[in-house]
């Protein structure tokens, strides 16, 4: 067979992968190129004057250092909390398991800075707890410690989902063997369970690290004088009009993000995907002694209580006249939100609803190609498709703003630019979910259909598609959540007609309309929960859980 035999055998693969490559090139690589090019412009390509400037200036160097420090701290704390949550939910019998599971996924579906908002309401200088209840007069939540708390609480669910997938995949027969050989509970955990879970822990650490680096909504409000790179990039770009410096700063985030991502791929490997969806009912050994169990449950109960407190605060904020000045009950903020926010709510939902099925479906198609088909350039395709995962939101947003503000792709100010950015930025989430479940379906079923005379399209439609429907819906659920809660890229792309709720929440928070911001947060969460309910109805199970 000639080396091009694969094209003749299944021409659709060649055509579709070419189309995917072209689309990725236009809507992912080109914007990134624009952003990179801008940051090195003005001199020889290799002299990198803007980057040298960044490293020469102590204040910019410090914001890079601060970003790394924050990322490392948040990733470590989140991984520990996530691990304990996962361990309890998978390995310990407690009556409140479902509640803990819910607590560990709640922050994922909330707007990114909602927790910052309630932290200020509760622990700010005039916070409800610090000032009204405890009478503390100079408690300072702004800065590094406050940021670590907020980021850890909002990002530990990422660790929880990854780690619990891995824990579910560990077959307890190995642990039994160790126990039978005389090892105590702690020894079994340390020498068997923990090493087996390590790849998952590292993966989750890296995911949180990257998320923390790219986060700019929380630092913008809560950082005080603790400067971080993502905020500096935003200020330079939109505030100072210093496009090269803004692009350079956000590109600096690219280096740790891609390194973290590659490291994760290399170290964790593909095998972990199989475990993420959870094979049918492995047996899980109950490992903790009563006292350890109590300690663990106590710990996660405390965290859960804290999360509940933060959410109750937002709920209370909705009905308060003017937080910090006048705590009386009031409904007038709802009228204000209706007035200010209705258009944004509508456009956010509309844009997300258009982007979600496209991104989710494209994700499934690409996953199918990657898992089932052999063709040249497969690895390149996979890396290209996953690139948006590793890109900091600001780079993505700035890249889009630059790339699509001139003919032939004149998109600034339209809904299209936001929809396209959502599709290409969040498609990998759907793709990864679909890939994980495709890997569990035996290709033999598919082959059987082909042997019986079905065309590749038909066997995909009638055999594979029904089997991957759950993954498809889960993928879409993730994409929808990402679209609804996105802020770092979309803030560069919104316009009068097409605003995004998160951008509006950020603006309301900044002008201290806390009540309005709370109401918008609440509406956003309700929309996401409603979407989940619809998916659950179509699918018969909840879209986002690891088990």
């Amino acid at each position: 067979m000639s080396s091009f035999g694969w094209i003749r055998r299944d021409p659709s693969i060649a055509i579709s992968s070419t189309i995917i490559f072209i689309l990725i090139a236009i809507f992912v690589l080109y914007p990134v190129y624009c952003s990179l090019q801008l940051s090195t412009s003005g001199a020889d390509f290799w002299s990198f004057p803007t980057y040298r400037y960044v490293f020469e200036k102590p204040w910019l160097r410090r914001s890079l250092w601060n970003s790394l420090l924050l990322g490392i701290t948040t990733a470590s704390i989140s991984s520990i909390i996530g691990f304990i949550f996962a361990f309890v939910c998978v390995r310990v019998q407690t009556p409140a398991k479902n509640m803990f599971r819910f607590m560990a996924t709640l922050p994922i579906i909330s707007p990114p800075f909602m927790l910052t908002l309630s932290m200020i309401l509760l622990f700010g200088k005039s916070g409800f707890i610090t000032n009204e209840l405890l009478g503390l007069e100079n408690f300072d939540i702004y800065g590094f410690p406050g940021l670590v708390v907020v980021q850890s609480i909002s990002m530990f669910p990422i660790a929880y989902l990854t780690i619990s997938g891995v824990l579910l995949g560990i077959d307890s027969s190995i642990e039994d063997a160790a126990a039978n050989l005389g090892a105590g509970g702690w020894k079994v955990f340390r020498s068997v369970t923990l090493p087996l879970a390590t790849p998952g822990v590292i993966a989750s650490w890296l995911l949180v690290f990257v998320t923390s680096l790219a986060d700019f909504a929380n630092p913008m409000i809560l950082a005080g004088k603790f400067d971080v790179l993502s905020v500096q990039a935003y200020l330079q770009f939109t505030g100072m009009g210093n496009l090269p410096l803004g692009a350079a700063l956000s590109n600096l985030l690219l280096i740790p993000c891609i390194t973290a991502y590659l490291f994760q791929r290399y170290y964790v490997g593909r095998k972990s995907y199989v475990s993420i969806t959870g094979k049918p009912k492995l047996y899980h050994r109950e490992m903790a002694s009563t006292s350890v169990k109590c300690l663990l449950v106590f710990f996660i109960s405390l965290i859960s209580l804290f999360i509940i407190l933060l959410y109750v605060t937002v709920l209370a904020g909705c009905f308060t006249k003017s937080w910090g000045i006048d705590y009386r009950f009031s409904l007038e903020n709802f009228a204000y939100v209706w007035d200010v926010g209705w258009e944004s709510i509508r456009s956010t939902v509309l844009i997300s609803s258009i982007a979600t099925p496209i991104a989710g479906t494209a994700g499934v198609f690409i996953a199918f190609l990657l898992v089932r088909k052999k063709f040249p350039g497969k690895l390149a395709l996979e890396i290209a498709c996953l690139l948006p995962f590793a890109l900091p939101g600001t780079t993505f947003g700035i890249g889009y703003a630059l790339a699509f503000n001139q003919p032939p792709l004149l998109l600034t100010g339209t809904a299209s630019i936001i929809i396209l950015s959502f599709i290409f930025r969040h498609m990998p989430a759907g793709m990864e979910a679909a890939k994980a479940s495709l890997q569990q379906i035996d290709p033999a079923i598919d082959e059987a259909a082909r042997n019986l005379g079905a065309s590749p399209v038909r066997s995909f439609k009638d055999v594979t598609l029904p089997l991957i429907k759950p993954a498809w819906f889960t993928g879409m659920a993730y994409v929808f959540v990402h679209c609804m809660t996105a802020v770092s890229a979309v803030i560069f792309l919104v316009s009068a007609k097409w605003n995004h709720m998160t951008v509006l929440i950020l603006a309301q928070t900044e002008i201290l309309r806390f009540s309005a911001a709370s109401i918008l947060c609440l509406i956003l969460i309700l929309i996401v929960l409603a979407a989940f309910a619809i998916i659950k109805l179509l699918l018969g199970k909840s879209p986002i859980t690891s088990s």
């Binding site: 659709s12 055509i15 579709s16 189309i19 995917i20 689309l23 200036k57 102590p58 204040w59 410090r62 700010g124 200088k125 005039s126 100079n138 300072d140 702004y142 950082a223 005080g224 004088k225 400067d227 200020l235 330079q236 939109t238 505030g239 100072m240 009009g241 210093n242 496009l243 003017s322 937080w323 910090g324 000045i325 006048d326 007035d339 200010v340 258009i354 496209i358 479906t361 494209a362 198609f365 630059l402 503000n405 001139q406 998109l411 600034t412 100010g413 339209t414 299209s416 396209l420 399209v457 995909f460 439609k461 919104v494 316009s495 009068a496 007609k497 603006a507 900044e510 002008i511 201290l512």
Partner: protein, 333 residues
């Protein structure tokens, strides 16, 4: 699979195709730097009086200027309403705006408009101190009456100003203090002040609001914002002015060069100097530059009564990038 993929790509490409079209029939689209509530009132009054629709995006001064610059090949908006005069000067210097002499041009004093007609002042905002009276009492301090008062050791972590990178308010402050004390003196001051700052906010009106809810003790902000917080929001604030003199802004309007709806924008521009528009602004505690036959709110601060530091706007506009970079280095260095 093949068909699906093709249809996805067609969908994606058709999204690309549906860009903004036929702007003349669409509502006038503007950028504004005034507070959201007053812009809503202005737009509502304009729509009621003329039947013309207006859409707006609220951006801080720096953001608006940056956006007008990034969009220069394809301007989205045709007019920029409000925002510190310095930035209007700066975008004029960059050639991003269009000259226009509106119908009330002759009523505006020469110092409050561009000689070539590129921008025109709407109202003046005077920089002042907002202090939280409860916090002041707790710290045992009186309301500040001098720039030096903000350097008091008791105020560590208690003072807020906005970030001059994104907010025109703080750049006005920098420019005014440089005129008064020279560059070295002014930056020495900011370096010392940095010690007492809790946060440099993105928006210029945020510090006074943070002080209103007690998140900080003293803020620098525009007097009309502070008077409004005291009267309308019943915030526990005290207003005071530095005795050495203070900076001010000329909130202005510019037409954006090559805007797609310049005719509509000019009509709106003219209307902004009508008694109706002036009254809406006066009700928001502004003192409009063209204020014949309108009723000012009690306690509105008339800039004529305050000791001001005069800043050469052309100079300040040209120097902005350099001075803000310098500020970043001095403060964070």
């Amino acid at each position: 699979m093949f068909k699906g993929l093709i249809s996805i790509s067609i969908l994606a490409l058709s999204l690309v195709a549906c860009t903004r079209s036929s702007s003349q029939n669409q509502p006038l689209f503007i950028y504004t730097t005034m507070d959201e509530p007053i812009v809503r009132q202005i737009v509502a009054a304009y729509e009621k009086e003329t039947g013309e629709e207006v859409e707006f995006v609220r951006l801080s001064t720096g953001e608006a200027a940056a956006r007008i610059e990034t969009e220069k090949n394809n301007p989205q908006a045709s007019l920029w309403l409000g925002g510190v005069g310095l930035s209007h000067v700066q975008i004029k210097q960059k050639g991003l705006t269009a000259a226009y002499q509106h119908t009330s041009w002759n009523k505006i004093p020469a110092a409050l408009k561009d000689g070539d007609g590129y921008w025109s002042g709407l109202y003046m905002g005077v920089l002042s101190f907002a202090s939280n009276s409860k916090q002041l009492k707790r710290l045992g301090l009186k309301k500040p009456t001098s720039w030096i008062d903000l350097l008091d050791k008791k105020l560590e972590g208690q003072v807020q100003i906005s970030n001059p990178g994104s907010s025109g308010t703080s750049y006005n402050l920098i420019a005014a203090l440089i005129v008064q004390d020279g560059e070295t003196g002014a930056f020495d001051y900011f370096k010392k002040l940095n010690h007492n700052i809790s946060q440099y906010t993105r928006s210029g009106s945020a510090p006074a609001k943070n002080v209103a809810i007690g998140e900080a003790t003293i803020a620098v902000g525009y007097a009309h914002d502070i008077v409004r917080l005291i009267h309308d929001d019943k915030a526990p604030l005290e207003l005071s002015f530095p005795k050495e003199g203070t900076g001010y802004e000329i909130a202005s309007i510019s037409l954006i060069k090559d805007g797609k709806q310049l005719e509509k924008a000019k009509k709106f521009y003219d209307w902004m100097y009508s008694p109706t528009a002036s009254q809406v602004m006066a009700d928001y505690y502004f003192v409009p530059i063209v204020s014949e036959g309108i009723q000012l709110k009690a306690d509105s601060i008339n800039p004529k009564d305050i000791k001001l530091i005069n800043v050469d706007l052309e100079w300040a506009g040209k120097e902005r990038d350099r001075l803000i970079n310098l500020w970043n280095e001095k403060i964070n260095g």
